[in-house]
Symmetry: C2
Subunit: 247 residues, 2 copies
DNA sequence: ACCGGTAGACTGGTCTGACCAGTAAACCAG
DNA sequence: CTGGTTTACTGGTCAGACCAGTCTACCGGT
Protein backbone atom coordinates (compact mmCIF):
# COMPACT_ATOMS: atom_id res chain seq x y z
CA UNK A 1 0.00 0.00 0.00
CA UNK A 2 1.42 3.31 -1.12
CA UNK A 3 0.47 6.72 0.20
CA UNK A 4 1.43 10.10 -1.08
CA UNK A 5 2.43 13.12 0.94
CA UNK A 6 -0.53 15.39 1.28
CA UNK A 7 -0.06 19.06 0.59
CA UNK A 8 -2.88 21.56 0.38
CA UNK A 9 -3.16 23.36 -2.93
CA UNK A 10 -2.84 27.08 -2.34
CA UNK A 11 -5.46 29.36 -3.81
CA UNK A 12 -2.90 31.45 -5.72
CA UNK A 13 -1.55 28.24 -7.20
CA UNK A 14 -4.92 27.30 -8.60
CA UNK A 15 -5.21 30.73 -10.14
CA UNK A 16 -1.79 30.27 -11.75
CA UNK A 17 -2.81 26.92 -13.14
CA UNK A 18 -5.97 28.23 -14.72
CA UNK A 19 -4.23 31.11 -16.42
CA UNK A 20 -1.35 28.89 -17.51
CA UNK A 21 -3.80 26.42 -18.96
CA UNK A 22 -5.52 29.15 -20.93
CA UNK A 23 -2.19 30.20 -22.41
CA UNK A 24 -1.02 26.68 -23.18
CA UNK A 25 -4.28 25.73 -24.81
CA UNK A 26 -4.12 28.81 -26.99
CA UNK A 27 -7.31 30.34 -25.59
CA UNK A 28 -5.13 33.30 -24.66
CA UNK A 29 -2.46 34.35 -27.11
CA UNK A 30 0.60 36.59 -26.79
CA UNK A 31 -0.42 40.21 -27.01
CA UNK A 32 -3.78 39.54 -25.43
CA UNK A 33 -4.65 41.25 -22.19
CA UNK A 34 -5.73 39.67 -18.96
CA UNK A 35 -8.59 41.28 -17.05
CA UNK A 36 -7.51 43.76 -14.40
CA UNK A 37 -6.63 42.49 -10.96
CA UNK A 38 -9.92 43.72 -9.56
CA UNK A 39 -11.79 41.93 -12.30
CA UNK A 40 -9.78 38.73 -11.84
CA UNK A 41 -10.56 38.70 -8.15
CA UNK A 42 -14.25 38.65 -8.99
CA UNK A 43 -13.88 35.93 -11.63
CA UNK A 44 -11.75 33.68 -9.45
CA UNK A 45 -13.60 34.68 -6.30
CA UNK A 46 -10.44 35.31 -4.29
CA UNK A 47 -8.93 38.37 -2.65
CA UNK A 48 -6.72 40.75 -4.50
CA UNK A 49 -3.57 39.64 -2.69
CA UNK A 50 -4.16 36.12 -3.95
CA UNK A 51 -4.57 37.37 -7.50
CA UNK A 52 -1.45 39.45 -7.17
CA UNK A 53 0.66 36.57 -5.89
CA UNK A 54 -0.50 34.49 -8.84
CA UNK A 55 0.39 37.26 -11.25
CA UNK A 56 3.80 37.58 -9.60
CA UNK A 57 4.50 33.93 -10.25
CA UNK A 58 3.47 34.25 -13.87
CA UNK A 59 5.53 37.37 -14.20
CA UNK A 60 8.57 35.61 -12.77
CA UNK A 61 8.04 32.95 -15.41
CA UNK A 62 8.10 35.67 -18.03
CA UNK A 63 4.58 34.83 -19.15
CA UNK A 64 2.94 38.16 -18.41
CA UNK A 65 3.93 41.75 -17.78
CA UNK A 66 1.90 44.36 -16.01
CA UNK A 67 2.28 48.08 -15.88
CA UNK A 68 0.48 50.37 -13.49
CA UNK A 69 -2.09 52.60 -15.04
CA UNK A 70 -2.59 50.60 -18.20
CA UNK A 71 -6.36 50.22 -18.49
CA UNK A 72 -5.98 47.28 -20.89
CA UNK A 73 -4.67 45.06 -18.11
CA UNK A 74 -1.66 42.76 -17.83
CA UNK A 75 -0.15 41.73 -21.16
CA UNK A 76 0.40 38.11 -22.10
CA UNK A 77 3.90 37.71 -23.45
CA UNK A 78 5.23 35.41 -26.13
CA UNK A 79 7.23 32.48 -24.82
CA UNK A 80 10.70 33.71 -24.07
CA UNK A 81 13.86 31.88 -23.09
CA UNK A 82 14.65 34.42 -20.41
CA UNK A 83 13.29 32.31 -17.57
CA UNK A 84 15.09 29.25 -18.87
CA UNK A 85 18.27 31.24 -19.08
CA UNK A 86 17.88 32.45 -15.53
CA UNK A 87 17.36 29.03 -14.04
CA UNK A 88 20.22 27.50 -15.99
CA UNK A 89 22.46 30.34 -14.95
CA UNK A 90 21.50 29.83 -11.33
CA UNK A 91 22.36 26.15 -11.54
CA UNK A 92 25.70 26.93 -13.08
CA UNK A 93 26.37 29.48 -10.39
CA UNK A 94 25.56 26.98 -7.70
CA UNK A 95 28.08 24.56 -9.19
CA UNK A 96 25.45 22.04 -10.05
CA UNK A 97 26.37 22.57 -13.65
CA UNK A 98 29.98 22.60 -14.75
CA UNK A 99 31.56 23.84 -17.91
CA UNK A 100 32.07 20.28 -19.06
CA UNK A 101 28.37 19.55 -18.96
CA UNK A 102 27.41 22.80 -20.61
CA UNK A 103 29.99 22.29 -23.30
CA UNK A 104 28.93 18.72 -23.84
CA UNK A 105 25.37 19.84 -24.25
CA UNK A 106 26.37 22.60 -26.58
CA UNK A 107 28.35 20.20 -28.73
CA UNK A 108 25.27 18.02 -28.97
CA UNK A 109 23.01 20.91 -29.91
CA UNK A 110 25.38 22.71 -32.22
CA UNK A 111 26.45 19.51 -33.91
CA UNK A 112 22.88 18.54 -34.66
CA UNK A 113 21.94 22.07 -35.65
CA UNK A 114 24.75 22.19 -38.19
CA UNK A 115 23.81 18.80 -39.54
CA UNK A 116 20.19 19.75 -39.97
CA UNK A 117 20.92 23.23 -41.24
CA UNK A 118 23.13 21.86 -44.00
CA UNK A 119 20.34 19.68 -45.32
CA UNK A 120 17.38 21.96 -44.77
CA UNK A 121 18.77 25.43 -45.50
CA UNK A 122 17.15 27.59 -48.15
CA UNK A 123 18.75 30.32 -50.21
CA UNK A 124 17.44 32.90 -47.75
CA UNK A 125 19.26 31.16 -44.95
CA UNK A 126 22.47 31.14 -46.94
CA UNK A 127 22.14 34.85 -47.60
CA UNK A 128 21.59 35.45 -43.90
CA UNK A 129 24.66 33.42 -43.06
CA UNK A 130 26.71 35.32 -45.63
CA UNK A 131 25.65 38.58 -44.05
CA UNK A 132 26.52 37.35 -40.57
CA UNK A 133 29.92 36.21 -41.74
CA UNK A 134 30.52 39.58 -43.35
CA UNK A 135 29.66 41.26 -40.06
CA UNK A 136 32.20 39.05 -38.35
CA UNK A 137 34.90 40.05 -40.81
CA UNK A 138 34.14 43.67 -40.12
CA UNK A 139 34.07 42.94 -36.41
CA UNK A 140 37.67 41.71 -36.28
CA UNK A 141 38.98 45.24 -36.49
CA UNK A 142 36.25 46.74 -34.35
CA UNK A 143 36.91 45.04 -31.09
CA UNK A 144 36.11 41.79 -29.40
CA UNK A 145 32.62 42.74 -28.24
CA UNK A 146 31.46 43.56 -31.73
CA UNK A 147 32.99 40.40 -33.12
CA UNK A 148 31.42 38.29 -30.44
CA UNK A 149 28.06 39.80 -31.20
CA UNK A 150 28.34 38.90 -34.87
CA UNK A 151 29.46 35.43 -33.91
CA UNK A 152 26.30 34.93 -31.90
CA UNK A 153 24.24 36.12 -34.86
CA UNK A 154 25.95 33.53 -37.06
CA UNK A 155 25.18 30.70 -34.70
CA UNK A 156 21.59 31.82 -34.30
CA UNK A 157 21.17 31.96 -38.05
CA UNK A 158 22.31 28.37 -38.29
CA UNK A 159 19.89 27.33 -35.58
CA UNK A 160 17.08 29.15 -37.35
CA UNK A 161 17.94 27.37 -40.59
CA UNK A 162 16.95 24.11 -38.93
CA UNK A 163 13.46 25.50 -38.55
CA UNK A 164 13.25 24.12 -35.04
CA UNK A 165 12.55 26.69 -32.29
CA UNK A 166 13.74 24.30 -29.62
CA UNK A 167 17.18 24.17 -31.17
CA UNK A 168 17.23 27.95 -31.49
CA UNK A 169 16.27 28.58 -27.91
CA UNK A 170 18.28 25.89 -26.19
CA UNK A 171 21.29 26.84 -28.26
CA UNK A 172 20.90 30.47 -27.36
CA UNK A 173 20.52 29.75 -23.68
CA UNK A 174 23.38 27.34 -23.26
CA UNK A 175 25.66 29.51 -25.38
CA UNK A 176 24.85 32.46 -23.17
CA UNK A 177 25.57 30.58 -19.98
CA UNK A 178 28.85 29.21 -21.31
CA UNK A 179 29.95 32.70 -22.25
CA UNK A 180 29.09 34.05 -18.83
CA UNK A 181 31.17 31.31 -17.26
CA UNK A 182 34.32 32.08 -19.19
CA UNK A 183 33.96 35.66 -20.33
CA UNK A 184 36.45 36.89 -17.82
CA UNK A 185 38.96 34.38 -19.09
CA UNK A 186 38.33 35.46 -22.67
CA UNK A 187 38.69 39.09 -21.67
CA UNK A 188 42.23 38.49 -20.55
CA UNK A 189 43.28 36.28 -23.43
CA UNK A 190 46.58 37.43 -24.84
CA UNK A 191 46.11 37.25 -28.53
CA UNK A 192 42.53 38.06 -29.20
CA UNK A 193 43.12 39.07 -32.79
CA UNK A 194 44.59 35.69 -33.65
CA UNK A 195 41.68 34.13 -31.82
CA UNK A 196 39.19 36.02 -33.89
CA UNK A 197 40.94 35.19 -37.14
CA UNK A 198 40.89 31.55 -36.11
CA UNK A 199 37.19 31.57 -35.51
CA UNK A 200 36.61 33.42 -38.74
CA UNK A 201 38.30 30.79 -40.90
CA UNK A 202 36.44 28.10 -39.03
CA UNK A 203 33.12 29.79 -39.73
CA UNK A 204 34.01 30.12 -43.37
CA UNK A 205 34.66 26.39 -43.56
CA UNK A 206 31.39 25.67 -41.84
CA UNK A 207 29.45 27.90 -44.17
CA UNK A 208 31.03 26.17 -47.13
CA UNK A 209 29.98 22.79 -45.81
CA UNK A 210 26.46 24.07 -45.30
CA UNK A 211 26.41 25.50 -48.78
CA UNK A 212 27.48 22.09 -50.07
CA UNK A 213 24.69 20.48 -48.04
CA UNK A 214 27.37 18.40 -46.38
CA UNK A 215 25.76 18.05 -42.96
CA UNK A 216 28.24 15.50 -41.74
CA UNK A 217 31.18 17.79 -42.40
CA UNK A 218 29.47 20.85 -40.94
CA UNK A 219 28.59 18.97 -37.79
CA UNK A 220 32.09 17.57 -37.34
CA UNK A 221 33.67 20.98 -37.89
CA UNK A 222 31.35 22.62 -35.37
CA UNK A 223 31.98 20.11 -32.63
CA UNK A 224 35.70 20.05 -33.22
CA UNK A 225 35.89 23.83 -33.10
CA UNK A 226 34.01 23.94 -29.84
CA UNK A 227 36.38 21.42 -28.38
CA UNK A 228 39.48 23.16 -29.68
CA UNK A 229 38.42 26.55 -28.41
CA UNK A 230 36.92 25.69 -25.07
CA UNK A 231 38.44 22.44 -23.86
CA UNK A 232 41.32 24.31 -22.24
CA UNK A 233 38.88 25.79 -19.74
CA UNK A 234 37.47 22.39 -18.83
CA UNK A 235 39.18 20.65 -15.91
CA UNK A 236 41.51 18.04 -17.32
CA UNK A 237 39.84 15.05 -15.76
CA UNK A 238 36.56 15.89 -17.42
CA UNK A 239 37.70 16.37 -20.97
CA UNK A 240 37.15 12.72 -21.74
CA UNK A 241 33.43 13.39 -21.38
CA UNK A 242 33.60 15.41 -24.58
CA UNK A 243 35.63 13.03 -26.70
CA UNK A 244 32.89 10.56 -27.63
CA UNK A 245 31.14 13.36 -29.48
CA UNK A 246 34.09 13.92 -31.76
CA UNK A 247 34.29 10.41 -33.12
CA UNK B 1 23.45 59.66 -27.66
CA UNK B 2 21.73 56.63 -26.21
CA UNK B 3 19.02 56.58 -23.60
CA UNK B 4 17.58 53.65 -21.78
CA UNK B 5 13.95 52.97 -21.04
CA UNK B 6 13.14 54.06 -17.54
CA UNK B 7 11.26 51.67 -15.31
CA UNK B 8 10.70 52.14 -11.62
CA UNK B 9 12.12 49.37 -9.44
CA UNK B 10 9.32 47.77 -7.48
CA UNK B 11 9.74 47.34 -3.76
CA UNK B 12 9.17 43.58 -3.84
CA UNK B 13 11.85 43.36 -6.51
CA UNK B 14 14.40 45.02 -4.29
CA UNK B 15 13.54 42.57 -1.55
CA UNK B 16 14.06 39.68 -3.97
CA UNK B 17 17.41 41.06 -5.00
CA UNK B 18 18.67 41.37 -1.46
CA UNK B 19 17.68 37.85 -0.51
CA UNK B 20 19.00 36.44 -3.79
CA UNK B 21 22.26 38.22 -3.20
CA UNK B 22 22.56 36.77 0.27
CA UNK B 23 22.02 33.28 -1.11
CA UNK B 24 24.39 33.62 -4.05
CA UNK B 25 27.12 35.13 -1.94
CA UNK B 26 26.84 32.24 0.46
CA UNK B 27 25.83 34.37 3.43
CA UNK B 28 22.74 32.21 3.53
CA UNK B 29 23.17 28.52 2.85
CA UNK B 30 20.72 25.78 1.91
CA UNK B 31 18.94 24.52 4.99
CA UNK B 32 19.11 27.89 6.66
CA UNK B 33 15.90 29.64 7.61
CA UNK B 34 14.76 33.09 6.64
CA UNK B 35 13.15 35.26 9.29
CA UNK B 36 9.37 35.07 9.39
CA UNK B 37 7.36 37.29 7.08
CA UNK B 38 6.44 39.59 9.94
CA UNK B 39 10.08 39.87 10.89
CA UNK B 40 11.18 40.48 7.30
CA UNK B 41 8.67 43.29 6.97
CA UNK B 42 10.30 45.23 9.77
CA UNK B 43 13.82 44.48 8.53
CA UNK B 44 13.03 45.62 4.99
CA UNK B 45 10.60 48.25 6.23
CA UNK B 46 7.85 47.26 3.81
CA UNK B 47 4.36 45.86 4.17
CA UNK B 48 3.67 42.20 4.49
CA UNK B 49 2.13 41.95 1.03
CA UNK B 50 5.38 43.20 -0.43
CA UNK B 51 7.36 40.63 1.52
CA UNK B 52 4.97 37.93 0.43
CA UNK B 53 5.22 38.82 -3.24
CA UNK B 54 8.99 38.68 -2.97
CA UNK B 55 8.83 35.29 -1.30
CA UNK B 56 6.45 34.07 -4.01
CA UNK B 57 8.99 34.98 -6.67
CA UNK B 58 11.76 33.20 -4.82
CA UNK B 59 9.52 30.22 -4.28
CA UNK B 60 8.69 30.09 -7.99
CA UNK B 61 12.42 29.99 -8.63
CA UNK B 62 12.69 27.04 -6.29
CA UNK B 63 15.02 28.95 -3.99
CA UNK B 64 12.89 28.82 -0.86
CA UNK B 65 9.99 26.85 0.51
CA UNK B 66 7.61 27.97 3.18
CA UNK B 67 5.15 26.01 5.20
CA UNK B 68 2.43 27.51 7.32
CA UNK B 69 2.93 27.08 11.02
CA UNK B 70 6.61 26.36 10.96
CA UNK B 71 8.08 28.71 13.55
CA UNK B 72 11.54 28.35 12.06
CA UNK B 73 10.51 30.36 8.99
CA UNK B 74 10.93 29.79 5.25
CA UNK B 75 13.61 27.28 4.31
CA UNK B 76 16.37 28.09 1.87
CA UNK B 77 16.65 25.28 -0.65
CA UNK B 78 19.67 23.89 -2.43
CA UNK B 79 19.82 24.68 -6.12
CA UNK B 80 17.81 22.09 -7.95
CA UNK B 81 17.03 21.38 -11.57
CA UNK B 82 13.32 21.56 -10.80
CA UNK B 83 13.09 25.21 -11.83
CA UNK B 84 14.96 24.48 -15.04
CA UNK B 85 12.56 21.66 -15.70
CA UNK B 86 9.56 23.88 -15.16
CA UNK B 87 10.71 26.72 -17.36
CA UNK B 88 11.67 24.35 -20.13
CA UNK B 89 8.33 22.65 -19.87
CA UNK B 90 6.50 25.95 -19.99
CA UNK B 91 8.48 26.99 -23.02
CA UNK B 92 7.83 23.75 -24.85
CA UNK B 93 4.12 23.95 -24.18
CA UNK B 94 3.63 27.64 -24.77
CA UNK B 95 5.41 27.62 -28.10
CA UNK B 96 2.73 25.41 -29.65
CA UNK B 97 5.33 23.18 -31.15
CA UNK B 98 4.46 20.60 -33.71
CA UNK B 99 5.15 16.94 -33.31
CA UNK B 100 7.80 17.12 -36.01
CA UNK B 101 9.83 19.66 -34.08
CA UNK B 102 9.49 17.84 -30.81
CA UNK B 103 10.37 14.55 -32.38
CA UNK B 104 13.33 16.05 -34.18
CA UNK B 105 14.61 17.44 -30.93
CA UNK B 106 14.02 14.20 -29.15
CA UNK B 107 15.96 12.30 -31.78
CA UNK B 108 18.83 14.71 -31.29
CA UNK B 109 18.78 14.37 -27.52
CA UNK B 110 18.16 10.64 -27.34
CA UNK B 111 20.67 9.93 -30.06
CA UNK B 112 23.40 11.80 -28.25
CA UNK B 113 22.40 10.43 -24.89
CA UNK B 114 22.70 6.88 -26.15
CA UNK B 115 26.02 7.63 -27.76
CA UNK B 116 27.42 9.12 -24.58
CA UNK B 117 25.87 6.56 -22.30
CA UNK B 118 27.47 3.73 -24.23
CA UNK B 119 30.93 5.17 -23.72
CA UNK B 120 30.60 6.53 -20.24
CA UNK B 121 28.40 3.98 -18.49
CA UNK B 122 29.62 2.25 -15.36
CA UNK B 123 28.63 -1.13 -14.00
CA UNK B 124 26.08 0.55 -11.75
CA UNK B 125 24.41 2.11 -14.73
CA UNK B 126 24.25 -1.23 -16.47
CA UNK B 127 22.65 -2.81 -13.43
CA UNK B 128 20.10 -0.02 -13.33
CA UNK B 129 19.31 -0.51 -16.99
CA UNK B 130 18.95 -4.24 -16.46
CA UNK B 131 16.47 -3.60 -13.69
CA UNK B 132 14.49 -1.16 -15.81
CA UNK B 133 14.36 -3.63 -18.67
CA UNK B 134 13.17 -6.32 -16.30
CA UNK B 135 10.40 -4.01 -15.14
CA UNK B 136 9.38 -3.50 -18.74
CA UNK B 137 9.19 -7.24 -19.31
CA UNK B 138 6.93 -7.54 -16.29
CA UNK B 139 4.95 -4.57 -17.50
CA UNK B 140 3.92 -6.15 -20.78
CA UNK B 141 1.39 -8.32 -19.02
CA UNK B 142 0.35 -5.66 -16.54
CA UNK B 143 -1.12 -3.10 -18.83
CA UNK B 144 0.06 -0.26 -20.95
CA UNK B 145 0.36 2.31 -18.18
CA UNK B 146 2.72 0.17 -16.18
CA UNK B 147 4.79 -0.65 -19.24
CA UNK B 148 4.99 2.97 -20.25
CA UNK B 149 6.16 3.88 -16.79
CA UNK B 150 8.97 1.34 -16.96
CA UNK B 151 9.87 2.61 -20.42
CA UNK B 152 10.29 6.10 -19.07
CA UNK B 153 12.50 4.76 -16.30
CA UNK B 154 14.70 3.05 -18.88
CA UNK B 155 15.17 6.22 -20.89
CA UNK B 156 15.90 8.23 -17.78
CA UNK B 157 18.48 5.70 -16.71
CA UNK B 158 20.24 6.09 -20.03
CA UNK B 159 20.18 9.86 -19.71
CA UNK B 160 21.59 9.62 -16.20
CA UNK B 161 24.36 7.37 -17.44
CA UNK B 162 25.67 10.30 -19.48
CA UNK B 163 26.20 12.15 -16.22
CA UNK B 164 24.78 15.29 -17.77
CA UNK B 165 21.79 16.80 -15.95
CA UNK B 166 20.93 18.91 -18.97
CA UNK B 167 20.40 15.78 -21.06
CA UNK B 168 18.34 14.24 -18.29
CA UNK B 169 16.07 17.23 -17.92
CA UNK B 170 15.58 18.14 -21.55
CA UNK B 171 14.95 14.51 -22.32
CA UNK B 172 12.32 14.31 -19.62
CA UNK B 173 10.59 17.45 -20.76
CA UNK B 174 10.50 16.67 -24.44
CA UNK B 175 9.42 13.11 -23.81
CA UNK B 176 6.61 14.36 -21.60
CA UNK B 177 5.36 16.89 -24.11
CA UNK B 178 5.49 14.37 -26.94
CA UNK B 179 3.45 11.96 -24.89
CA UNK B 180 0.89 14.65 -24.10
CA UNK B 181 0.47 15.25 -27.81
CA UNK B 182 -0.13 11.67 -28.82
CA UNK B 183 -1.26 9.84 -25.73
CA UNK B 184 -4.83 9.69 -26.95
CA UNK B 185 -3.66 8.12 -30.19
CA UNK B 186 -1.62 5.58 -28.29
CA UNK B 187 -4.59 4.81 -26.05
CA UNK B 188 -6.64 3.74 -29.02
CA UNK B 189 -3.93 1.80 -30.79
CA UNK B 190 -5.22 -1.56 -31.89
CA UNK B 191 -2.52 -3.95 -30.99
CA UNK B 192 -0.83 -2.59 -27.95
CA UNK B 193 0.63 -5.92 -26.93
CA UNK B 194 2.50 -6.23 -30.22
CA UNK B 195 3.58 -2.61 -29.78
CA UNK B 196 5.01 -3.32 -26.36
CA UNK B 197 6.82 -6.44 -27.53
CA UNK B 198 8.31 -4.40 -30.34
CA UNK B 199 9.63 -1.80 -28.00
CA UNK B 200 10.92 -4.43 -25.67
CA UNK B 201 13.10 -6.10 -28.30
CA UNK B 202 14.33 -2.71 -29.37
CA UNK B 203 15.33 -1.83 -25.83
CA UNK B 204 17.11 -5.13 -25.51
CA UNK B 205 19.16 -4.36 -28.60
CA UNK B 206 19.96 -0.91 -27.28
CA UNK B 207 21.08 -2.24 -23.95
CA UNK B 208 23.33 -4.74 -25.69
CA UNK B 209 24.94 -1.99 -27.72
CA UNK B 210 25.48 0.04 -24.58
CA UNK B 211 26.94 -2.97 -22.83
CA UNK B 212 29.32 -3.36 -25.78
CA UNK B 213 30.23 0.32 -25.50
CA UNK B 214 29.12 0.68 -29.09
CA UNK B 215 27.82 4.23 -28.97
CA UNK B 216 27.37 4.54 -32.67
CA UNK B 217 25.08 1.53 -32.79
CA UNK B 218 23.10 2.53 -29.71
CA UNK B 219 22.56 5.98 -31.10
CA UNK B 220 21.46 4.73 -34.49
CA UNK B 221 19.07 2.24 -32.95
CA UNK B 222 17.52 4.87 -30.72
CA UNK B 223 16.91 7.35 -33.49
CA UNK B 224 15.60 4.74 -35.87
CA UNK B 225 13.21 3.39 -33.25
CA UNK B 226 11.86 6.85 -32.56
CA UNK B 227 11.29 7.38 -36.24
CA UNK B 228 9.68 3.99 -36.75
CA UNK B 229 7.32 4.37 -33.84
CA UNK B 230 6.31 7.99 -34.11
CA UNK B 231 6.72 9.09 -37.72
CA UNK B 232 3.24 7.88 -38.56
CA UNK B 233 1.82 10.62 -36.37
CA UNK B 234 3.89 13.30 -38.09
CA UNK B 235 2.21 15.02 -41.04
CA UNK B 236 3.62 13.52 -44.20
CA UNK B 237 5.13 16.69 -45.58
CA UNK B 238 7.24 17.14 -42.47
CA UNK B 239 8.78 13.73 -42.20
CA UNK B 240 11.70 14.80 -44.32
CA UNK B 241 12.77 17.02 -41.43
CA UNK B 242 13.61 13.91 -39.49
CA UNK B 243 15.47 11.97 -42.15
CA UNK B 244 18.81 13.79 -41.97
CA UNK B 245 19.20 12.50 -38.43
CA UNK B 246 19.00 8.90 -39.54
CA UNK B 247 21.87 9.04 -41.99
C1' DA C 1 -10.92 72.57 -38.05
C1' DC C 2 -7.29 71.42 -35.29
C1' DC C 3 -4.71 71.37 -31.07
C1' DG C 4 -3.29 71.51 -25.97
C1' DG C 5 -4.70 71.05 -21.69
C1' DT C 6 -7.49 69.00 -18.31
C1' DA C 7 -10.81 65.98 -15.53
C1' DG C 8 -12.07 61.69 -14.41
C1' DA C 9 -12.01 56.87 -14.30
C1' DC C 10 -9.39 53.64 -14.34
C1' DT C 11 -4.69 50.81 -13.44
C1' DG C 12 -1.16 48.39 -10.58
C1' DG C 13 1.81 49.04 -6.19
C1' DT C 14 1.77 49.29 -1.44
C1' DC C 15 0.24 49.38 3.38
C1' DT C 16 -2.67 48.18 7.39
C1' DG C 17 -5.14 45.24 10.05
C1' DA C 18 -7.67 41.34 10.67
C1' DC C 19 -8.95 36.25 10.87
C1' DC C 20 -8.04 31.34 10.17
C1' DA C 21 -5.90 26.78 10.10
C1' DG C 22 -1.96 24.76 10.98
C1' DT C 23 2.55 23.74 13.45
C1' DA C 24 5.77 23.06 17.18
C1' DA C 25 7.40 23.39 21.53
C1' DA C 26 6.59 23.97 26.24
C1' DC C 27 3.72 22.51 29.69
C1' DC C 28 1.13 19.54 32.48
C1' DA C 29 -1.58 15.55 34.18
C1' DG C 30 -1.57 10.71 34.41
C1' DC D 1 8.41 8.69 31.13
C1' DT D 2 4.23 9.22 28.28
C1' DG D 3 0.04 11.52 26.02
C1' DG D 4 -2.75 15.24 25.76
C1' DT D 5 -3.33 20.25 26.03
C1' DT D 6 -2.13 24.97 25.95
C1' DT D 7 0.13 28.73 23.84
C1' DA D 8 2.51 31.47 20.81
C1' DC D 9 3.73 31.58 16.83
C1' DT D 10 3.58 30.64 11.40
C1' DG D 11 1.96 31.30 6.60
C1' DG D 12 -2.50 31.86 3.70
C1' DT D 13 -6.20 34.73 2.75
C1' DC D 14 -9.26 38.57 2.73
C1' DA D 15 -11.11 43.38 3.02
C1' DG D 16 -10.39 48.02 2.58
C1' DA D 17 -7.73 51.92 1.90
C1' DC D 18 -4.46 55.29 -0.37
C1' DC D 19 -1.15 56.70 -3.89
C1' DA D 20 1.09 57.63 -8.25
C1' DG D 21 0.68 56.84 -12.67
C1' DT D 22 -1.71 56.29 -17.36
C1' DC D 23 -5.48 56.50 -20.75
C1' DT D 24 -9.19 58.60 -22.79
C1' DA D 25 -12.58 61.60 -23.72
C1' DC D 26 -13.94 65.94 -23.36
C1' DC D 27 -13.41 70.94 -23.91
C1' DG D 28 -11.94 75.56 -24.69
C1' DG D 29 -8.86 78.35 -27.40
C1' DT D 30 -6.95 79.36 -31.80
Amino acid sequence: MEFEPVAPVRAYQRVVEQIEEAVFSGRIKPGDRLPSERELMVQFDVGRSTVREALRVLQAAEMIRSRPGDPRGPEVLAASPAALHRSMHRLARADHLGLSELLQFRMVLDGSAHLLAAQLRTEEHLAELDAALEAMRAGVSRGFAEFSHADVAFHEAIARATGNPLLVISGEVVRGVVLELIEDKLEHADDRTALMRNWLTHHEEVLEAIRDSDGERASRLAKQALYDNYAEYVPEGQRRLLLPLLA
